[in-house]
């Protein structure tokens, strides 16, 4: 079970850029690639907590602005040879261009959101 939340429109995010969704459990960064794919990650680099939303986006990667760790947008994994992982969320673009962010049930339980 995934709960989907409307968060805005594809056009609200610049290409090769990101916007932030604020939540009670921290910020989520919503990225838009050159090919209009949209990905969502916790806005915290696993290295030292840098805000990934502020990084430069290239391909399906964002470079953290603090110490240049490279994070894969599709799964939150840090690119080798560095290690680490940041949480990723499902996100959908529906035909109208509206963006839906998914909060998996299991994740809600972990966060004790009911």
């Amino acid at each position: 079970m995934i709960q989907w939340i409307e968060i805005g429109h594809l056009q609200d995010i610049p290409r090769l850029g990101a916007r932030v969704v604020t939540t009670d459990w921290g910020n989520i960064a919503i990225f838009r690639t050159a090919g209009d794919e949209v990905w969502a990650l916790d806005d915290r680099c696993p290295h030292r907590g840098g805000p990934l939303s502020q990084g430069i986006v290239h391909g399906k990667v964002v470079t953290c602005p603090l110490h240049n760790r490279q994070i894969n947008l599709t799964d939150g994994q840090v690119l080798a040879p560095d290690k680490g992982c940041t949480h990723s969320y499902p996100v959908k673009v529906i035909e109208t261009g509206q963006l839906l962010l998914g909060i998996p049930e299991t994740y809600k339980q972990a966060l004790q959101l009911t």
């Binding site: 609200d12 939540t23 603090l66 035909e95």
Partner: protein
């Protein structure tokens, strides 16, 4: 059934032994670790930089809880083992945990020795041993003014330096007349004392502490001769005692430390001991290198290999006080049978001494120049015969072996031992670099940085890393590309790309990618900011700034800080301000709860800790008072530092402030390959320090001297004198022309200092001084480009004009209570 190994002590020696053991045989034991401290295993020797504010606790953790979990090690923090029962083979902790063992490792370290004088129990009297001590010292530095450090040894001096860095008034009290007498001889100790005194530390030599005074808290220290000095904190750093209490109580034979043999076993062969708590062949060690050697041997024996033996260590010391180069090793005092080779230059603060016996180095002391210390240590450890190079020995390795090895600098790294630290920022040793190069098949500096982090922070050790590559990779110099590609998206170098942009008149990043066959469709974080700069520098009238290719600082016109907040630096023309501006700044700080207000080195005010969402509102308020962006975030013109000039100064020959303001008004907003700093001094006393700026002007009776290419950062470089001119107008013309030459010619991220080293001062002089037409046309191009660069203050555009509004607003704010569920028929999902 696995055997059970219990390690008493969660410090550097014990855990290092376990690390070595896991490398040899990860499956052999069920391992349990007990430690008194509440922290995981951390690097005790880095407590000094933590105290000095150069590192924080997280930086010095060696093994996190994760590491213990991954390796199946049970960890009890906050547990002190109170009993070893050798009959039942079990240990008990102060919290009544009892654990059985097949083999036991004692790594209880040592305790700081506290002089039992009256008052030694008072709050405010600490040792310098663990994180708790450092926290106590940091707390004291926030509330008190006076610190007294008892003990002028290695630890005492590091504590003193740290407390001084935290702003305290520090006095070091030493019983003898020589500081660090266990590591230094008199001449070296004298140089050290002088240099610490220059930093502001006071010394009381040959002083005996009689009493620590205070009722609730320490307030003063009294000496035998009746002298009394105030103290809010007293640090006892007079020595350490091996912690043998537990071993003694269990009937294990101890003298000063727990006695071990060459396989690190105590008198009970099931029980091993390593680290500061042991005594081996009459020696107890308090330094980290021997502990690591012991750990290796102990692990080897625990893994039933039984081939390693420990035969003692040649110890060496360095003082971890930034900026003080000091090294000592072995028998540095010598005796009647030894000879001394000495090099001394007190004026330069350099002193080097080697103690030699029958052409073998027995000991060394070096102060002020320790470049070759690793080499001397190696010659000592290997007991190498130095007879054939005795006369050249003190002039260093490169010179002494020059003839033998062709005198290449690479020979220096060849002879470094594997545990020589190459990269100070990230703590990477030569051995690690060599091993990674070999195992991963690395061939470039870039790859080594990625895999080991060596030279990936400040870059000042890059040349050493390159040399290690050269000696490790076969044919490195033949395989190494003669030119350096800009990044991994292209084979082309910065220069080739710039030439292509100019010759093919390329005006967008997409065009560059297309024409120059870029390998990645979006480029990367390295090439995109560079290309965006080149385009703007060459075709300012035609090129549209590519916003998403700028680093975040330039994208939002503020500096990102470690916690994701931003800092804001308004421009203060020539370092001048007025009540209206100061009031506006004060009001903004209060209104937006800005936590830190700091003076920068460039004569302006930095507001640190501003939330990104507040930036436009902060700018709007500052703009009201006429304040604009200081571009402190940009590869751009930063600031023009000035002295008070002939406007106020008794000695001033020229109006420095007036010219500084003019320069800044002319050049603000200009994007440059790297940050660009200026200064104007009104007389040769040079109070504005123009000789370490990218462009500096010094007023003299007859006009102005123009200096270029200085740098005060990683590698200090003093400016070159470009020329002398007579009028302020000429200064402005030279400044604009010099900047334009740099803007069009240098590589992105190349400061003027390395740029001038690369192209040569003669080239710059020939372009600007010898060729009037060329200078004027450069100046014209600079002013044309400024026409676009100064179109609008970026803060006004964003604060009042609403530019890039999306950058400062969240896309959406979701609260858990109001999550709106969207019913979503499956077929609608794209």
């Amino acid at each position: 059934m696995k055997e059970k190994l219990v390690c008493i002590g969660n410090g550097m020696a014990g855990v290092r032994t376990l690390e070595e053991l896991l490398k040899l045989d990860p499956e052999k034991y069920d391992i349990t670790v007990l430690g008194t401290e509440l922290y995981g295993n951390y690097n005790r020797i880095l407590l000094s930089p933590v105290l000095a504010g150069e590192k924080n606790i997280d930086d010095i953790i060696l093994n996190s809880q994760e590491w213990y979990d991954q390796n199946g090690i049970t960890l009890y923090t906050g547990h002190t083992v109170t009993q070893i029962n050798r009959i039942k083979r079990e240990i008990t902790s102060d919290q009544d945990v009892t654990i059985k063992y097949d083999r036991l490792l004692i790594a209880t370290g040592s305790n700081p020795f506290i002089i039992p004088i009256p008052g030694h129990n008072l709050p405010g009297v600490v040792s310098f041993r663990d994180i708790t001590d450092v926290e106590a010292m940091l707390a004291a530095s926030r509330h008190g003014q006076y610190a007294v450090v008892i003990g002028g040894g290695l630890l005492g001096l590091e504590a003193a330096n740290g407390l001084m860095k935290q702003g305290m008034d520090v006095t070091v009290v030493h019983l003898l007349d020589t500081l660090m007498e266990r590591q230094l001889d008199k001449p070296a100790a004298t140089l050290l004392k002088t240099s610490l005194e220059q930093r502001g530390i006071k010394f009381l030599m040959e002083a005996q502490t009689a009493e620590i005074i205070g009722t609730e808290q320490v307030t003063a220290v009294r000496f035998k001769d009746g002298l009394e000095i105030p103290a809010n904190i007293v640090v006892m750093a007079v020595g350490i005692r091996p912690n043998t209490t537990l071993a003694k109580a269990a009937g294990i034979y101890c003298e000063r430390g727990i006695i071990v043999n060459d396989t690190m076993q105590t008198y009970d062969p099931r029980i091993y001991a390593v680290g500061e708590c042991v005594q081996h062949r009459g020696q107890a060690y308090g330094l980290v290198a021997p502990l690591y050697e012991q750990a290796k041997v102990c692990a080897n024996h625990l893994a039933d290999m039984g081939i390693a033996r420990y035969s003692g260590s040649v110890v060496s010391t360095r003082l971890k006080v930034t900026g003080i180069e000091l090294f000592s090793a072995g028998d540095f005092l010598g005796n009647g049978k030894t000879e001394e080779i000495i090099f001394q230059d007190p004026a330069q603060g350099i002193y080097k001494k080697l103690v030699v016996h029958n052409n073998y180095i027995k000991g060394a002391v070096m102060y002020g120049d320790t470049v070759d210390s690793a080499w001397y240590l190696q010659l000592m450890r290997e007991q190498a015969d130095i007879g054939h190079i005795r006369d050249k020995l003190l002039f260093g390795q490169a010179y002494a072996l020059g003839s033998a090895l062709g005198g290449t600098a690479a020979s220096a790294v060849t002879l470094m031992s594997d545990d020589t630290q190459i990269c100070g920022c990230n703590g990477v040793c030569k051995g690690t670099i060599v091993k990674t190069i070999t195992n991963e098949g690395l061939t470039t500096l870039e790859q080594v940085r990625l895999h080991t982090k060596a030279s990936a922070s400040c870059g000042s050790c890059s040349h050493l890393v390159e040399q290690i590559l050269a000696i490790t990779v076969k044919d490195y110099h033949n395989t190494a590309p003669k030119k350096k590609a800009m990044c991994h998206c292209t084979e082309l170098s910065h220069d080739e790309v710039q030439t292509a942009i100019k010759q093919q008149h390329l005006t967008s990043i997409a065009q560059i990618f297309d024409q120059l066959a870029w390998k990645n469709p979006d480029g990367c974080q390295v090439c995109r900011p560079a290309l965006n700069y080149y385009l703007l520098a060459h075709f300012p009238a035609e090129v549209k700034d590519d916003y998403q290719s700028r680093f975040i600082n330039e994208r939002v016109h503020a500096n990102i800080q470690k916690d994701g907040t931003y800092s804001v630096v308004p421009r203060m023309w020539g370092g001048l301000t007025n009540p209206q501006e100061l009031r506006a700044i004060a009001n903004v700080v209060e209104k937006f709860n800005i936590p830190t207000v700091k003076m920068t080195g460039g004569q302006r005010i930095d507001l640190l800790g501003v939330k990104k969402t507040d930036l436009p509102a902060v700018w709007a308020d500052l703009n009201q008072a006429g304040l604009v962006s200081g571009y402190a975030y940009g590869k751009a013109v930063r600031t023009v530092k000035t002295c008070v000039g002939s406007e106020w100064c008794r000695f001033g020959t020229q109006p420095a402030m007036e010219l500084g303001v003019k320069l800044e008004k002319m050049t603000w907003g200009s994007w440059t390959p790297h940050k660009f700093k200026m200064a104007v001094s009104g007389c040769p006393r040079n109070c504005a320090e123009v000789t370490i700026k990218d462009f500096g002007v010094i007023g003299v009776e007859a006009g102005w001297e123009i200096h270029v290419g200085g740098n005060g950062g990683i590698k200090v470089r003093v400016t070159d004198l470009l020329c002398k001119v007579t009028t302020p107008e000429e200064v402005l013309e030279y400044c604009g022309a010099f900047m334009q030459l740099y803007r069009e010619n240098a590589r992105y991220l190349e400061r003027t200092a390395p740029w001038i080293e690369r192209v040569g001062l003669d080239y710059v002089k020939q372009q600007l001084v010898a060729d009037n037409d060329n200078r004027q046309s450069l100046f014209r191009r600079f002013l044309e480009s400024q026409h676009f660069a100064q179109a609008e203050d970026p803060w006004i555009a964003r604060a009042l004009g609403g530019l890039d509004a999306h950058e400062f607003k969240p896309l959406k704010q979701v609260t858990t209570s109001e999550i709106k569920v969207v019913a979503l028929p499956e077929e609608e999902v794209a």
